[in-house]
Structures are given as structure tokens and as C-alpha cells.
């Protein structure tokens, strides 16, 4: 798979207005948090999600960036909400690779995402699916995230609003596949 070209250095002589319109090339802290939470949501939907992530990384040709599962795990540990967090930021290539893995996994899980979002599914069955997803996500968050952070506490709260979970699933559904890559990447680069 073709890799994205390296980020062009910002020309300091460029006019201020032009510089402010240029999209950022690296994920902000908030972007990293969202990316890792979306990957965690994939793991909550798919019991074998962690293994699938490693396998997908190899299939997509990212073995040079993430040679093993530890390297993949380390890249996700740039999320400041993790229990064990790493300093620094991800390179643009690493970010693109993680987003590409997320989009491809979301594409594989799309039938499940569709069921969760559909209003034509039987309501009691869909409530069970949402409950299962919420429970698994809370377990994963408790296991890997820093429980002293308020945003982490909110995610593991059993009274978490369905709209928060729905936003995550909707994000995965709209970011699934090749077409979703640009959309999801632009969303993760939003100003905060």
C-alpha cells in the first residue's frame, strides 16, 4: 500500500492567514484520545479485535511501522488517558496507518454497526446489543485507562448516556471503508 508522503514543513514566511488555513499534519491530544477510544470500541464489538488489529496491520502492509503487537500497543499508548502513557506524538505515517487499520476493521464490522444504528431492528434485541457493547467497553476502559481522569470515569459509569455510545458507533459506521478514511482523519484533526 502506498504510504502518505511526509509532512511538508511549514513555511514561516507564508502569510498568517494562509498558515492558519493549512490543516494540521499531526494529531492533537484530543485526536489521539478519540482515535484510541474508537480502536477500543472495535475491540469491544469484536472479542478477537486485538488480534484482528495485528493481523490487519500486516495485511495492509504496515509491518515496517508496527513490526509486532508491542509496537502497535506502544503507538496506542500515546493516548494521554492510558494507565501507561508515552510522551511525544505519533508521526503522520503512524497516524495514517492506525486510522487505515481502524477504517478497515470498521468495514469488517459494518453489518454489526448497521444493526446497532438501525431503527427497524427489534427494540428489545437492540437494547441487549447496546448493553453488551457498553459492558465490554467499560471493562476495556477500566482495564487500560487511568481511572483518575474524569472523562474515563464518565465512560465506565453505568448511567452513561446512550447518545455517547451512539456517537462512537456512528463515527465508526461513517468512517468505515476506503471512503471513510479522509472523513475520519479530518475529524480527528479538528480544532479543539
Amino acid at each position: 500500500m502506498a504510504q502518505a508522503p511526509a509532512a511538508a514543513p511549514v513555511d514561516p514566511s507564508a502569510p498568517e492567514a494562509e498558515r492558519s488555513h493549512r490543516p494540521p499534519t499531526r494529531l492533537s491530544r484530543r485526536g489521539l484520545e478519540r482515535l484510541d477510544l474508537l480502536l477500543l470500541s472495535v475491540e469491544a464489538l469484536d472479542l478477537n479485535g486485538g488480534e484482528a488489529m495485528v493481523w490487519m496491520s500486516e495485511q495492509l502492509g504496515f509491518s515496517s511501522l508496527f513490526p509486532d503487537r508491542v509496537a502497535l500497543w506502544k503507538s496506542r499508548c500515546h493516548n494521554p488517558l492510558r494507565r501507561v502513557t508515552r510522551r511525544g506524538t505519533l508521526s503522520e505515517q503512524e497516524t495514517d496507518a492506525l486510522i487505515r487499520i481502524l477504517c478497515t476493521l470498521a468495514d469488517r464490522l459494518y453489518p454489526m454497526l448497521h444493526q446497532l444504528l438501525s431503527s427497524s431492528e427489534p427494540e428489545d434485541r437492540n437494547d441487549q446489543r447496546w448493553g453488551l457493547f457498553q459492558g465490554r467497553l467499560a471493562e476495556l476502559v477500566q482495564e487500560r485507562m487511568n481511572p483518575r481522569r474524569s472523562s474515563v470515569q464518565r465512560l465506565v459509569d453505568p448511567a452513561l448516556e446512550r447518545s455517547v455510545l451512539r456517537t462512537l458507533i456512528q463515527c465508526l459506521a461513517l468512517g468505515a471503508g476506503d471512503g471513510g478514511f479522509d472523513r475520519l482523519k479530518a475529524s480527528l484533526m479538528d480544532a479543539n
Binding site: 448497521h114 471512503g179 479530518a186
Partner: protein, 213 residues
């Protein structure tokens, strides 16, 4: 010979018909000129139109999805546009506290005296429609320049719509009220009594310089 490209999803099917543009050197399998399209959404009337309507739909739906993924629910396509899409919210049938969210897709015909057609779709149907449009956009055998804008990161001002006005105003209004309260309380503090003119003040005695030898 007319060519067809079909993009299928669970609740949506988009079919594009056209011809190869031989004058542009395109292969005989590629569509270079769109002559028509049909969109079938499950249990909804079939839609069809010309290339301009397809582009108008992509121009409204794809940026809408782009904003939705960032949590911004805002309409796209004005009242005069051939296609517009806007969020809507209705109360849940069983539980009044729960609200069902959806999307209202409005198509306006170019034929006179034809009322606009409004379709209400849920999140799953919107995702299907977006995937169909994505596949159309990325199809190497559809060589029609659609000129759709690339998704861009949203600016802080655009993201303000994510939070309702009362939550955005909570912090500055709370700060102003706290400041006002402290300023009000400071009026109750006793002011120091003014000093009388004749009252001697205790000052340090003047320093005597040692006589020079």
C-alpha cells in the same frame, strides 16, 4: 452502448447509467458521461435524476456526514438547492424522555408544479447512502469529474454547534456571577478609620551619622 454501475448496501442501492467518453480516450468499460441514475432506499419511492442532481446529492450528503462524524448536526443544502439534508428529532413512541434522531433528505424537482419529496432516514440508512456515494466517488470505472470538496478539519467556531448555548455560556456567566458576588461582598468589609491630623505617628528615629574623625 449504455453502461451501468451499481453500488449496493443493505438498505440502499445506487445505480448509475452512462456512456464511455471515447473522445477523451477512455476505455469502453468506463463511464465518462452520466445519462441518468436511480436511488432505491428500502420501503421508499425510487428516486432518479440527471448528473446535476447526483452531484447535488453528493454535495449535500457527504459534508453532512463529515460534520456528523465530528458530532456537529447541521443542515446542508439550502431551501433552493435541488437536494438538502437536515437532522430531525422526534419523541420515542414508548418513552417520552428518549428521543429518536434521524435525517430528513429533501429532493426538489426541476419540473414546475412538482412538490418536493421528503424522505426520513435513520442513522443506518444514512451510513448506507454515504457508503454508496463513497464507492461512486472512488470507482475507477466512473471517470466523471465530480469535483467534490475534500473533507477538511473543522475549526473551533464550527465545533461550537456541538454544545448547546446554555452549556457554552455556563462557564463565562458563572465566572461573571462569581466576580460580581465577590465585588458585592467587598462592600461589606469595614473600611479603615481615617487618621487625625494631630495624631502622632510612630516613626523610626532619624539615624545619626557618626562624626567624621
Amino acid at each position: 452502448m449504455k453502461l451501468q454501475r451499481r453500488y449496493d448496501q443493505a438498505s440502499c442501492r445506487l445505480q448509475v447509467e452512462g456512456l464511455p467518453d471515447v473522445s477523451a480516450g477512455q476505455s469502453s468499460q468506463a463511464i465518462g458521461i452520466i445519462t441518468g441514475w436511480q436511488l432505491q432506499l428500502a420501503a421508499r419511492p425510487e428516486l432518479e435524476g440527471r448528473k446535476e442532481h447526483l452531484i447535488a446529492m453528493a454535495e449535500a450528503v457527504l459534508p453532512y456526514a463529515r460534520h456528523l462524524i465530528s458530532g456537529v448536526r447541521r443542515p446542508f443544502g439550502g431551501p433552493e438547492a435541488p437536494v438538502s439534508i437536515a437532522p430531525f428529532e422526534v419523541e420515542h413512541e414508548a418513552d417520552a424522555e428518549r428521543r429518536r434522531q434521524g435525517h430528513e433528505l429533501t429532493l426538489r424537482s426541476s419540473q414546475p408544479d412538482t412538490p418536493p419529496l421528503t424522505l426520513r432516514i435513520d442513522d443506518a440508512e444514512l451510513a448506507d447512502l454515504v457508503r454508496c456515494l463513497d464507492r461512486l466517488r472512488l470507482d475507477p470505472l466512473l471517470q466523471v469529474p465530480l469535483q467534490l470538496p475534500e473533507p477538511q478539519p473543522l475549526r473551533a467556531k464550527e465545533l461550537q454547534a456541538r454544545l448547546p448555548l446554555h452549556r457554552r455560556l455556563a462557564a463565562p456567566v458563572g465566572g461573571a456571577l462569581a466576580l460580581g458576588l465577590l465585588a458585592g461582598l467587598s462592600w461589606f468589609l469595614p473600611t479603615p478609620a481615617p487618621q487625625r491630623a494631630g495624631q502622632a505617628t510612630q516613626t523610626a528615629p532619624p539615624t545619626k551619622l557618626a562624626p567624621s574623625r
